[in-house]
Symmetry: none
């Protein structure tokens, strides 16, 4: 089945935001065996949206739109679907009630505009949106043509796609595509591709697709088969071969994150942790706290960006700071040991570095970061160098700190 | 003049990479007064590329393509331009020499395939590429239709656009578009649209475009004029009118963030700050630390996710936690006061809440958050309710905490 992805929104067309939805949907549809024929971005304009539908259906049977479901007059995706399929727009009572309650919970005034978000083409299959006020919908026209409308914000669109659209499409397609995703850290995309060159070259079924974003690298192994069981059997030997080559970098499978895996490892190993952060400013703590059960093992975090705070809370010695500076192996060690002793945790992790812009010296360039690791009485620090702007250096340092914790635990 | 941006490449169509070129070109073209009519992504496929040209020229006079200029058989943008405009593909000697030399410098073998990169439609205006092996070109067809072909890699495409395409387009267009962006917090998109309904309805020049992403809401005021000066004059009264209605929500202009504005306000007011975070787990601290000069005012952050840490570091009383629980006005107040007293800062901010999933009671639902504010001797707490998953509740709480700081300072 051919499909076209249409992003609706003047803010996308004019480049105010990047269209990441297109990439997400394209990847997901491909993994479901749907042939993505074209992607297109149109502004909030009646004629152009209708024109896009017409042109898309000349080659495709399925259109997936993102955006244009908001409460303002600019938002007109549903209206255009009605016009195109010659359907009426009617109030969907359940959605209306849900949106009303949503605003009540938020303590925000429910505006008449928001009523518009509960209007849908007659006989549409409504897709609930627990993360926002715009439900989506599946609308069938004549001749087997279908339009699926999804909200624009990725945080609303992605769960809706996964929970409702994916199962719907799976029912449509013959045979199934089943994927397993391996997540890697600490290896570049090109190095990974080199390690798997022969596999990627010779792939038929299953296929192996590498993908990299920032420091997170993934490998998707996809098999086409008649059943999930059969697909899993096809994937197994391929996964084993990949693990033989790259196991040290693989931190998880499927929909997980480095911080979640680290939190799980801490809990499984009954190891408590505390953190002392300088340049990362609380980012490592904040990432760990995103794991719901982390209170079991996460005792405390200290954001000691100033020297005074390092001395006050972590008992870093003034002589150490004077002699070696705040960005040094010695300070990182005292920070890690200091926070562990303060809280009595098994593990203490510290991060101190120069995130820039400015603040560098000849010996200490921007991007220089020390990570200190205290683990049940033993303490050491590692020196790292990162490229990028302030925000990139900080998140790279934070992710590497997490990876150090992981390596202590496996 | 209407333009369409066409990205060529199967890797984009299938979502292996995000199309950031589209955003860059759209923004640049808008600022040059070119009306971006549509964006489109097509695979490396003869028929579909020709179809895209045909469809695009039905509304536009200018097409800008990115990608498909590489050395392999899959790369066929130039071939398709020739076919479409009925031109011949001929060797451009200068480019050929340049590519040969490029490979020599890199010490890489020059392959016959690379000769293809020096072939261009006859009478094309060649755009040199100092950052790669694929020159671009401007090709004129009949009836004033023009195709500008650019390479796909952003670090080759962007300088080529800036150095050659921008001056070319400037000569073509009449007038410029100039925009000013206002950033708002604490108001929903629909409520904002209602407040500005009459303005948005009646807009001609300047135009006002609202846009919302997560809790961040922006308004773009765009004027068309002969010069930047004149455009600014057109924008001024419109901005004043908007500020009259929505000033309490406007925290900044242009390319800024709430955390940057808060850091700047703290520095300008010579107010030091320290933070005590429970459910946000260091996120507020981490956001503030992203502002490079923040060490002047940011004294310390405490990530006190457990009750023990709240007592140990913030001196929250055991009785308070027992009687009112960790998520209460009383605890938020003791946390804010505790961190301020510990560090001696002017301002102390605390965040404690139930981010879920789980952990709720009848009186304390998921999303309940208290923010405590200590400011030079006075202390209070505010109760808030957020929707969303754990990560959304946490970032919404963090952004609201920042906004509370902002409101203390203006």
């Amino acid at each position: 089945m051919n499909a076209e992805i249409i992003a609706v929104g003047t803010e996308l067309l004019l480049g105010d935001i990047v269209n990441t939805n297109g990439q997400f949907l394209a990847k997901e549809l491909a993994s479901l065996g749907i042939n993505v024929y074209r992607q297109r971005t149109v502004g909030d304009n009646e004629e152009r949206i209708l024109g896009a539908f017409k042109d898309a259906f000349s080659d495709c049977d399925l259109i997936i739109t993102t955006g244009g479901l908001g409460p303002t007059k600019d938002d007109m995706t549903k209206e255009m679907v009605c016009k195109f399929f010659n359907k009426e727009l009617i109030l969907h009572r359940e959605s209306f009630k849900y949106i009303e309650e949503y605003f009540e919970r938020l303590g925000r005034p429910f505006s008449e505009n928001n009523r518009k978000q509960a209007l849908f083409p007659e006989d549409a299959e409504i897709l609930p949106n627990p993360n926002g006020t715009a439900p989506g919908a599946i609308i069938k026209g004549t001749d087997g043509k279908t339009i699926i409308i999804l909200p624009g914000p990725p945080k609303e669109m992605k769960p809706m796609f996964n929970n409702y659209v994916k199962p719907y499409i799976k029912k449509l397609s013959d045979g199934i595509l089943y994927s397993k995703v391996l997540r890697l850290f600490g290896i570049g995309e090109s190095h990974m591709a080199e390690c798997l060159d022969d596999i990627i070259e010779g792939q038929t079924n299953p296929t192996v697709a590498p993908y990299a974003k920032e420091m997170d690298v993934t490998l998707r192994i996809t098999a086409k088969a008649d059943s999930e069981e059969e697909a899993i059997k096809l994937i197994e030997p391929m996964e084993e071969e990949i693990r033989n080559r790259l196991n040290e970098y693989i931190y998880g499978e499927g929909d997980t994150t480095l911080e979640d895996e680290v939190a799980k490892l801490l809990i499984a190993n009954h190891k408590t942790i505390s953190l002392a952060e300088s340049c990362t400013g609380g980012m490592v703590s904040s990432m760990l706290v995103n794991y719901p059960g982390v209170s079991e093992v996460f005792l405390e975090g200290a954001v000691t960006y100033t020297n005074e705070a390092k001395m006050r809370t972590l008992k870093v010695k003034k002589e150490t700071l004077d002699r070696y500076t705040a960005v040094s192996e010695e300070t990182a060690i005292e920070m890690a040991e200091g926070i562990a002793r303060r809280t009595g945790s098994n593990i203490g992790i510290s991060v101190t570095g120069i995130a820039g812009p400015g603040g560098e010296t000849e010996e200490q360039p921007v991007g220089l970061v020390y990570i200190g690791i205290y683990n049940d009485g033993k303490v050491r620090a590692e020196k790292l160098n990162f490229q990028g702007n302030r925000s990139q250096i900080r998140s790279r340092a934070a992710l590497n700190a997490l990876n150090f914790i992981r390596k202590e635990l496996i």
